[in-house]
Symmetry: C2
Subunit: 189 residues, 2 copies
Amino acid sequence: MELLKKRILKDGKVIGDSIIKVDSFLNHQLDIELFNEMGREFKARFSNANINKILTVEASGIAIACIAAQYFKVPVVFAKKHDALNIDEDTFHSEVYSFTKQKSYNIRVSKKYIMPEDTILIIDDFLANGKAASGLVDIVQQAGATVAGVGIVIEKGFQKGREVLRQKGIRIESLAIIESIGEDTITFG
Amino acid sequence: MELLKKRILKDGKVIGDSIIKVDSFLNHQLDIELFNEMGREFKARFSNANINKILTVEASGIAIACIAAQYFKVPVVFAKKHDALNIDEDTFHSEVYSFTKQKSYNIRVSKKYIMPEDTILIIDDFLANGKAASGLVDIVQQAGATVAGVGIVIEKGFQKGREVLRQKGIRIESLAIIESIGEDTITFG
């Protein structure tokens, strides 16, 4: 998606050899106009997939999931990462390892909100090693529902997320795939 | 807002004497059509306030902030609750006490994303004791920016959030105010 790639080149900041900081428009300050273009693009790519629900994980996946959901006219469910009093005890859960935090955590979804007849689009802002997306796929499959695919805003093509999901037979649509990061350079695939 | 009150009566679940569970449409599964009606209502209530940015706090505030932002045509900034590698070190921060978790945590916003010339609408899903909203007001004021008001989806009118914010001179607009919760009954103000 050209508009997104241009924005990444304009406002993205490279940190070290694998982090790209896009907090001015994607995951701290949010450019809602751009999010609408991204939502429209996800709908175009998954237009024939009969999606009836979008699943994401808190926190930064929620924004793009909600804006995209308007184009699909479906509800959003977000998996919870943190303990909360207001979640049911009866949940699907999956353990996710975070490389950035170097620890595992559980993501959870109440069993009331994913049904076997659901066809679900998983949306997240980043795909790196595929741990969070795999956890969401795991939850959908525990529910006996169908994964229509995974929609990603920025994929780090130099990490193994795509391969991990492909081995599970999951369709992946990324709006921008970064092939490599150099000192002050970002190259798209 | 009648549509919201009806939905709370239909799908809200009372737990104990102060918790109302609305996770089927507001903070776990999200009814994006209803969110659009709520966003439109916030715009109607703050139409003349010259708002140029919406501020919320992760996680469940993000969804309504993003949908509402479409009606204001402004970006969203969400305060971070959790440590993350991708946040600047130079932040405004405020300590917030959580009654449900019985501990304090810091909320943080990069100094790049709130400027003295900003007129900011704070949006959150719930107002109870006003701790989170007060923390967000504190952050806006640290930045020397203007708080146009606080927009809340569900206010617990029997807790002291409104009084706390009123003492700071902050305008509050709540789409539904719950005056009391009984066994299986919810009364609006």
